[in-house]
């Protein structure tokens, strides 16, 4: 009987090695070890053995069985590996074909830039204020130290609705509106983004455009603070290595006034086509808030000082993205917009 068992073991092992599918392997396993398997049948005969022979035979059977099982597992793992390899070799896709596209829209470049400007100033502790686009002559001009018939009004050709009501030509009216609202709270520290309007239309002017106004009023605000805040802004907007310079200028609502240039973002200041060889690019107007404007806002110019600045969002967007014609920004050609 022992020989019989060992023979079954040897033969099975031999066949097993040539099995080519896991199904056939399973079949063979049932044939040998199943309920009606040949080895199982031999085991059943063990009842007829003497008590001395039984443990010895038991040991032989177990040995054979465990050898067989191990071989089965090995072969079955081999077969799986072969099957997997085959599957992987068949499952090939062209990875250069385009993916399933998720349709995503695009933010208009001007709102992108405007949000970026807002975020920079939010980080510096500014609040965001707003004011009406259709504005009174008082807020747009008079409260900003531009009385009727002031020659500086001509710098800005206005769209009028009545003699007293117009489309605001600048975001500066928000200065006085905000001070009126906040007085006597200090510090006043706001920026005011929005649409403004001037009667002008060419490659560098649009009848409607966007500005961001900034205003700080507090005890002891200095012109050097203006420079510090704007340097900080310029570096965040145009890069860490930017420098700024101030040039004397004129705005009726600031005194002293300054035009702010930033070192050219294209050539770094060496001089190129973008900066017309000067190394500097004008980005915004600014100055110390004129005492009459502080007064119009309710604050006492003997107690507090402030600075204000205003920048054209279109200009910044054009510089940032290398856009040459302002009209592209309002033409809304999707091929243009989908670049951003």
């Amino acid at each position: 009987m022992k020989h019989e068992i060992q023979r079954i073991g040897e033969e099975t092992l031999k066949v097993l090695k040539d099995m080519e599918s896991s199904e056939a392997l399973q079949e063979l396993k049932v044939k040998i070890l199943g309920k009606k398997g040949s080895l199982t049948a031999l085991l059943r005969q063990m009842g007829g053995l003497s008590p001395e022979e039984r443990p010895i035979m038991g040991q032989v059977v177990n040995e054979v069985r465990s050898r067989l099982e191990q071989a089965w597992e090995e072969r079955s793992a081999e077969l799986e590996a072969i099957a997997l390899e085959k599957r992987l070799s068949l499952e090939r896709i062209d990875i250069t074909l385009p993916g399933r596209r998720v349709q995503r829209g695009h933010h208009h470049p001007l709102t992108q830039v405007m949000e970026e400007i807002e975020d920079i100033f939010l980080g510096m502790g500014f609040q965001i204020a707003e004011g009406p686009e259709i504005e009174s002559d008082y807020y747009n001009f008079e409260a900003l130290n531009l009385p009727k018939e002031h020659p500086a009004r001509e710098m800005q050709d206005s769209f009028y609705i009545t003699e007293e009501i117009l489309l605001r030509t600048q975001t500066s009216p928000v200065q006085v509106r905000t001070m009126e609202k906040l007085f006597p709270y200090l510090p006043v520290k706001v920026i005011a983004p929005g649409k403004v309007y001037r009667n002008d239309d060419d490659a560098t002017h649009s009848p409607m455009f966007h500005q961001v106004e900034g205003l700080i009023v507090d005890h002891g605000i200095r012109m050097s603070d203006l420079k510090g805040i704007l340097l900080n802004f310029s570096r965040q907007m145009f890069g860490d290595s930017r420098e700024i310079r101030l040039r004397p200028s004129f705005f009726p609502f600031t005194e002293p006034s300054a035009e702010v240039d930033v070192s050219c973002m294209l050539c770094g200041g060496a001089g190129c086509r973008l900066c017309k060889g000067t190394g500097w690019i004008e980005i915004l107007g600014s100055g110390m808030v004129h005492p009459r404007v502080l007064e119009a806002g309710g604050y006492d110019p003997k107690e507090v000082t402030g600075f204000a600045f205003g920048m054209g969002v279109e200009r910044i967007a054009m510089l940032k993205f290398g856009i040459e014609d302002m009209r592209l920004l309002f033409d809304n050609d999707l091929r243009f917009l989908q670049q951003f």
């Binding site: 385009p98 399933r100 709102t111 939010l122 603070d225 200028s249 091929r335």
Partner: protein, 801 residues
């Protein structure tokens, strides 16, 4: 203001080039827009002599010229017919770029090499004053004394450079050469050398005219009027040096008298006008026009005058428009023997109004409009006297000076300490004193406090801050350090409205729409169609007709954008805009109008072909899906009801959108009858009001837990009549399902065989779940059949197995 460097050098010591000075001035607050080299275009044009002239061997119309250009001679082929041997002519050498931008290259004309070009007046942009009469229509022929080989620009006296100043409105003083010289002197710390008349408030050693009375009728419009009487007038051309300076300043020379008045205006900033004294009958009146009054101005145009137009008149007729243009009748002619030269102040506002109205703007009107120095009126006439005598143009004999109002001198105090504080620069008292000295201002000093006497020509300096700017720009803005405000730390923040708009914009972009920005003014007709004609606000002075009213709807602007894109073959359009609409309550407006925020979108076309994805139609459900995304983002329950009375939308494919029982907008396909107008087919639009959405939005998310017990899924398909809405059936299902029915969704809608006509099949997927226990199949089956019974009864629905 055009500033001749040659002229400027006479008025101030200068060791800078034009370009350097331009930089100094710009950094000092006087912006220089450009530096013009007057010789531009003439660099490689020389005077040549025509040595010989022969017919071209192979072309009848061409001539081969041998030209002596000094050191050498060149052969040039020309087609000109007006030349004679021995003529002196301007020759553009190879490499020249002429004033008309023509570049000259070596060329070959029918086999003959031509090394340059002979120039006409037109090519050199010259007028008839240059050259002989024979030049007309051909090559410019110069007088026989023109030096051979000389640069043509030098020959014309064009070696000067001109700075073009872009003046801010606060510096009208720099419309005078003497004040530009003062400015340059202050910035470069050099001494100016000004004519003695540059000092204000000087008297002229002339008797008062006995036969000339000047009557100012409105002293608000004319503060001062001085008339200089000149006899023995000799009209002739002015000398070359004066003509050159005038031309460099952009003024055309006319004759010695007119040129002297213009020259003094450019130099001193005070406009002058010369009248023929013998044409003035009786007194000189400064008055406003009478109703219906007319005048023929110098340019020969008869002009109807408004009653607020300020005039210079004699006892009978108007002699000229004050400050704007003289009259033809009193013009100085070659026969003029006696003059009255006017030097006066006129109201800025009046002059601006008149020059605008008549479209007449001149160097003179520009100076009056910007405001001039009343203290310099007679001093300028002193300068006129000097030049009249110097040029032998006439003999000043008498003066009339009528003064109604003379602005008083101004003193402004300046504290060194305060200046340091405001600028943020530590400044020594001496530095400030130095600045005031450089400006040539008079002052009294008490330690750190200065009482500064403001000269009359600096009308812009009114308060201490103005002087601080003078200090800052003279020490240089670069001296100001960079610091940060010292106050309390502040928290940056957006308003809820701003936050809402940002989030809304993000959801729409993430959903696939492109953001556009359109003009807020639009065509009246389109706005009336989509918005409210009754409320739309017209502009008084629109740029164009199609930009003439403030919008009450965002839709026309978006339809324009869609149409423009489709016309350019951008066939797939899905766009939105967030922006204001403007609502006027009365016409004309008395108060500021309401500005109401809206969001609107337009979609048309279908998504492009893709090898995997099915193309998506940009239809009603496309935009509805996006609006559902929006509703989800903000926790809003938007309700869609069939659009009522909306003639703009397809009646079967449109909805009014409600939020808490309030209609806040619409969504729908545009009515087919409007398609042609926009050139768009099957276009879908929506518009929503923002404020109600902001008000109703969910403030924070309240999370619920996920049930531990398994859910049971059942599908249910029914056939219902076409007019029954899916929403109605779902509402019924939800009601019958009770709290165990957790979710109902439509997963299929089908029409066509075998479904009967006018019917549709709706398939729902229902999910049952309990928070407390595991549901049994039996109870779910029971609920499901109860639901089926219910909708069969309510809608006559038929179960589709």
């Amino acid at each position: 203001m055009k500033v001749s460097m040659e002229w400027l050098r006479e008025l101030v010591d200068l060791d800078q080039s034009a370009e350097q000075l331009a930089e100094t001035l710009t950094r000092g607050g006087i912006e220089v827009e450009g530096v013009e080299n007057l010789n531009k275009g003439f660099e490689k044009v020389v005077i040549g002599e025509l040595v010989s002239l022969e017919k071209h061997p192979d072309a009848d119309r061409l001539l081969v010229c041998d030209i002596n250009v000094g050191q050498e001679s060149v052969v040039i082929v020309t087609g000109a017919q007006n030349l004679l041997v021995g003529d002196r002519i301007p020759v553009a050498m190879v490499g020249a770029t002429l004033p008309n931008e023509l570049s000259i290259r070596k060329s070959k004309l029918r086999g003959v090499v031509s090394l340059g070009m002979l120039c006409s007046r037109e090519e050199l942009l010259l007028d008839e004053a240059v050259g002989l009469d024979r030049s007309a229509g051909g090559i410019l022929i110069l007088p026989p004394d023109a030096p051979i080989g000389e640069n043509f620009g030098h020959y014309l006296g064009r070696e000067d450079s001109v700075l073009d100043l872009e003046l801010y409105p606060n510096r009208p003083d720099c419309l005078a050469m003497v004040n530009v010289a003062r400015e340059v002197a202050s910035l470069t710390k050099k001494k100016p050398h000004l004519p003695k008349w540059a000092d204000q408030d000087q008297e002229l050693p002339l008797p008062t005219a006995s036969d000339l009375r000047i009557i100012i009728e409105d002293e608000d419009l004319c503060w001062r009027y001085a008339g200089l009487v000149v006899e023995d007038v000799q009209i002739e051309p002015s000398p070359e040096w004066m003509q050159k300076r005038l031309k460099a300043s952009g003024v055309r020379p006319i004759n010695n008298i007119v040129d002297i008045t213009n020259y003094c205006m450019m130099e001193m900033g005070q406009p002058l006008h010369a009248f023929d004294r013998d044409k003035i009958q009786g007194d000189v009146h400064v008055r406003c026009a009478y109703p219906g009054e007319k005048i023929v101005t110098l340019d020969g145009v008869e002009r109807n005058l408004q009653i607020d137009t300020l005039l210079i008149a004699d006892d009978h007729v108007a002699l000229g428009l004050a400050g704007v243009m003289g009259g033809l009748d009193s013009e100085v002619t070659k026969d003029t023997k006696r003059l009255m030269i006017e030097s006066a102040h006129f109201s800025q506002v009046s002059i601006r109004r008149t020059s605008r109205r008549l479209g007449l703007r001149s160097e003179a009107s520009n100076r009056f409009e910007k405001g001039l120095n009343v203290h310099g009126i007679v001093a300028t006439l002193g300068r006129v006297c000097d030049l009249l005598l110097e040029l032998g143009a006439g003999r000043p004999v008498a003066l009339v000076d009528v003064v109604k109002k003379l602005p008083s001198g101004r003193q402004v105090s300046l504290s060194a300490e305060h200046t340091s504080t405001v600028l943020g620069v530590e400044l020594k008292v001496d530095e400030i004193r130095q600045v005031l000295d450089n400006l040539n201002f008079k002052y009294q000093q008490q330690k750190g406090l200065f009482q500064v006497e403001i000269p009359a020509y600096r009308s812009d300096l009114e308060i201490e801050e103005d002087l601080m700017e003078e200090v800052a720009r003279l020490i240089g803005y670069d001296r100001i350090p960079t610091t940060l405000p010292q106050g309390d730390l502040t928290q940056g923040s957006r308003t809820p409205g701003q936050e809402f708009r940002r989030r809304l914009r993000r959801v729409l972009v993430q959903s696939g729409l492109d953001e556009v920005l359109t003009y807020t003014f639009t065509r009246a007709e389109s706005d009336a169609q989509w918005g409210s004609a009754q409320h739309s606000i017209p502009l008084l002075n629109p740029l164009r007709d199609e930009l003439s009213v403030m919008r009450t709807s965002l839709v026309p602007g978006l339809l324009d954008v869609a149409a423009r894109n489709v016309a350019r073959r951008n066939m797939e359009v899905g766009i939105f805009e967030i922006g204001n609409t403007y609502w006027g309550e009365e016409q004309p407006l008395k108060d500021l109008p309401r500005e109401e925020l809206r969001v609107a979108g337009v979609a048309v076309g279908k998504s492009g072909k893709h090898w995997l994805n099915q193309p998506i139609d940009k239809d009603f459900y496309y935009l509805k899906g996006i609006l559902e995304e929006v509703a989800l983002e903000f926790g809003l329950k938007l309700e869609y009801r069939s659009a009522k009375n909306n003639s703009l939308l397809h009646p079967g494919r449109s909805a009014d959108i409600y939020l808490k029982k309030q209609c806040i907008g619409f969504l729908g396909e545009m009515h087919p009858t409007l398609e042609k107008e926009w050139g768009l087919e099957r276009v879908v639009v929506f518009q929503l009001e923002l404020p109600p959405m902001l008000e109703q939005m969910r403030q924070t998310v309240r999370a619920y837990s996920i049930p531990r017990f398994p859910a049971i899924q059942r599908d249910l398909a029914v056939v219902v009549s076409m007019e029954i809405s899916a929403e109605a059936v779902m509402a019924k299902i939800r009601k019958l399902g009770g709290e165990l029915l957790q979710q109902v969704e439509v997963f299929d809608v089908y029409t066509g065989k075998p479904i009967p006509d006018d019917h549709k099949s709706l398939a729902f997927s229902l999910r049952y779940q309990s928070l407390e226990r595991t549901l049994t199949d039996e109870e779910v089956n029971l609920l499901n059949s109860r639901i089926l019974d219910g909708i069969q009864q309510e809608f006559g629905a038929e179960w589709r197995k």
